[in-house]
């Protein structure tokens, strides 16, 4: 196994990403409003947290760097194969990425199409994606679960959930 495939290398890369994030976050805090009479400024607490995060990120960076450059003992968990995040090489990651995209689309369409319809769609697609191919089960489950959930929230907990294009169902329930 190449050193670049180990968990130690993954930790090294993640520590660099974190360091960039911390520098950006610290610069961002310098723009917070300053109160002349205050002993503790609005930026103080976030800055302390960023410094704390920075210290441990540097420790992680040094630990990982030493492990990658000097080598690791057998049995060291950092010497194991790092998880892949490349969707082109790993079908599992591609599927996970697809579910994330579905979730983003779900958020965008939630108000327009309504909870029941978008939930049924995401449910059918996800079940199909992960290998459940029996449409006689997939479709009823995907429709009934969101419908029941909507009914419980709407009627029992009086939480108004958007129904979008299925608004007539709510009107029907209200009439009954």
């Amino acid at each position: 196994m190449k050193k670049t495939q180990t968990k130690a290398f993954a930790s090294l890369v993640s520590s660099i990403v974190l360091l960039i994030f911390e520098v950006w976050a610290y610069i961002e805090t310098t723009g917070f409003r300053v109160h002349k009479r205050a002993h503790v400024q609005p930026a103080t607490f976030p800055q302390i947290m960023i410094i704390g995060m920075f210290i441990f990120t540097v420790i992680l960076f040094v630990q990982s760097f030493l492990k990658v450059t000097r080598g690791m003992k057998e049995g060291d968990y950092e010497n194991e194969l790092a998880p892949s995040i490349n969707p082109f090489k790993n079908k599992g990651v591609a599927a996970a990425l697809f579910v994330i995209v579905l979730c983003i689309l779900y958020t965008m369409l939630f108000n327009k199409l309504g909870y029941v319809l978008v939930s049924a769609c995401i449910s059918v697609i996800t079940m199909w994606l992960i290998g459940k191919r029996d449409l006689k089960i997939i479709i009823p489950v995907s429709i009934i679960v969101p419908l029941v959930m909507w009914f419980i929230f709407y009627k029992m907990l009086t939480v108004n959930i958007p129904m979008g294009v299925l608004q007539p169902i709510r009107d029907l329930v209200d009439k009954i």
Binding site: T29, V40, F45, M53, A96, I100, C103, Y115, K132, I152
Partner: protein, 509 residues
């Protein structure tokens, strides 16, 4: 202690149909969720918080406590039947539970687990009833200095829940504390990390963040595991006939139940230490004090009793710091803290002054939750085994749509669904690169408490933070926190060394 009020609270809770119904419903849901490997009581409580939103406080707390107690027992079902603990708290139950199942005593093992869980839970609830007012009385003398150091003490357990890398655990914790600062600052109302985005002014809502980090991240990871073939479907065809253990068995295990319950309550009361630690401590203690330690691990009822009473004892123990100090004892009570805050009640010493009837009703609700767990467990013990056969390909999409609805329902705001998805992705990536998620949860809860008391203390003392050294209780908390951190680092290094040695031995064989 106001005995009259306590008695009235018990009558009030035990005579309310809504509370009884919700608690039984919670116990049923908790057992079913707990029995599914990978579904924890934390996830169950987080999922059902939106349901609790529209209810009165006590029925909603009854529902959540029902899930908590039910989930603790439910984890043992799959541990005993298929050698896969449903929850981390049931990890030690399989040591003797599964061998009992292999000997054809699955029913007996399940009934012992249920009975021991009930006894441990009742013991924990009783200790909580008598001990937490004393702790709260002491906490009444706390000022911002003590509260700041108490929050620090709560955060100090992060090291023990950091997993293999302490650095990663602490990075997660500081990241969580940083996330807690998003929005308007509590003293001057200055905007922090808002980027002109109005919904961010009030910061990230706790529940959508929690659902995202735990439930959505688990669904995304579960989909990946199914595609790569790492997720295996479990099946059980065991037939269960015994519902409760017989008198002879109870006589054999009662000492293990009591010691397990006490150990569980004590460990549960330490913020950050939960059932997963308590079960192993209880198992180790009971084994070493047994006349026949060589029989432990071969399938004896004592092993099941010692572990199951410990994990349910934790439920009462974890409520002690939650109610008396406002510091959650474990991940589930952290979510419960969110539920209290959602209802406009801030747990802590002042709760014993302003909300004493509520505190007593919570005591009664925990007792009811244990009774509900026993009743539901007895009624369904024969059928629970079937839950382990639920197909994950169906389960994950259902969890996804229920979780996203849960995130929306808190503020009826699509922004929260987006926050939930965002934290789902963050949680998935953090899990992948072994950054633990529990420290973020603890930090999100304790962060605001930490900042507010820090600002208050420094302002009161005209900018002199070192004045804190003149507060003995605060210094005491600080010393205990540092000791906890150092011991946790030592312990984690020992665990890592042992694991590495075991792997080397396994590789050389």
């Amino acid at each position: 202690m106001d005995w009259g009020l306590l008695f009235d609270s018990y009558i009030n809770v035990f005579s309310s149909f809504q509370v009884i119904f919700m608690t039984f419903l919670g116990a049923l849901g908790g057992i079913l969720l707990g029995a599914v490997p990978g579904m924890t009581a934390t996830m169950g409580v987080a999922l059902l918080i939106p349901f609790a939103f529209g209810m009165d406080l006590i029925p909603s707390i009854g529902l959540l406590l029902g899930i908590y107690c039910g989930g603790m027992y439910g984890g043992s079902i799959s541990a005993i039947l298929i050698h896969a603990p449903g929850t981390p708290s049931a990890a030690a139950t399989l040591l003797d539970g599964y061998p009992m199942c292999q000997k054809g005593q699955a029913g007996k093992a399940l009934s012992i687990a249920m009975f021991s869980s009930f006894c441990g839970g009742v013991l924990g609830a009783l200790i909580m009833t008598f001990l937490s007012p004393l702790v709260a009385q002491m906490a009444m003398k706390f000022t911002s200095a003590e509260m700041l150091m108490l929050a620090f003490f709560g955060l100090s357990v992060i090291v023990s829940i950091s997993g293999k890398s302490i650095s990663k655990g602490l990075i997660s914790a500081f990241f969580g504390l940083l996330l807690a600062t998003v929005g308007q600052d509590p003293t001057y109302g200055a905007k922090r990390f808002v980027f002109g985005f109005r919904p961010l002014l009030s910061g990230f809502s706790f529940i959508p963040t929690l659902i995202g980090l735990f439930a959505i991240a688990e669904v995304i990871a579960g989909v990946e595991r199914i595609i790569t073939g790492e997720e295996k479907q479990q099946k059980s065809e065991e037939k269960i006939t015994n519902v409760l253990p017989d008198f002879k068995t109870i006589k054999q295990i009662w000492l293990n139940i009591i010691s397990g319950g006490l150990i569980g309550t004590f460990i549960g009361a330490i913020p950050g230490a939960g059932g997963d630690i308590a079960v192993f401590v209880s198992y180790g203690f009971n084994k070493s004090s047994s006349k026949h330690p060589e029989l432990w691990g071969t399938g004896i009822p004592n092993g099941v009793a010692a572990t199951e009473s410990a994990n349910n004892g934790c439920s009462g123990g974890a409520m002690i710091p939650l109610l008396s100090l406002g510091v959650p004892g474990d991940a589930v009570t952290a979510v419960l803290l969110g539920a209290f805050i959602m209802k406009g009640i801030q747990p802590g010493p002042m709760m014993y002054v302003n909300e004493l009837p509520t505190v007593y009703r919570v005591f009664a609700a925990l007792m009811l939750a244990n009774l509900a767990m026993l009743a539901v467990g007895c009624a369904g013990v024969r059928f629970f085994a079937k839950i382990v056969s639920v197909e994950k390909k169906m389960l994950y999409p259902i969890i996804l749509v229920v979780s996203l609805l849960g995130a929306f329902s808190i503020n009826k705001n699509i922004f929260d669904v987006g926050v939930c998805v965002l934290f789902g992705v963050i949680g998935y990536l953090m899990n992948k690169f072994e950054f633990p998620l529990s420290p973020i949860l603890l930090a999100l809860i304790l962060g605001p408490m930490c900042e507010q008391n820090f600002v208050r203390f420094v302002d009161v003392n005209n900018g002199n933070f070192w004045e804190i050294l003149n507060r003995p209780i605060a210094v005491g908390f600080f010393v205990v926190s540092v000791a906890t951190i150092l011991y946790s680092i030592y312990n984690q290094r020992k665990i890592n060394r042992r694991e590495a040695e075991n792997k080397r031995k396994a590789a050389s064989m």
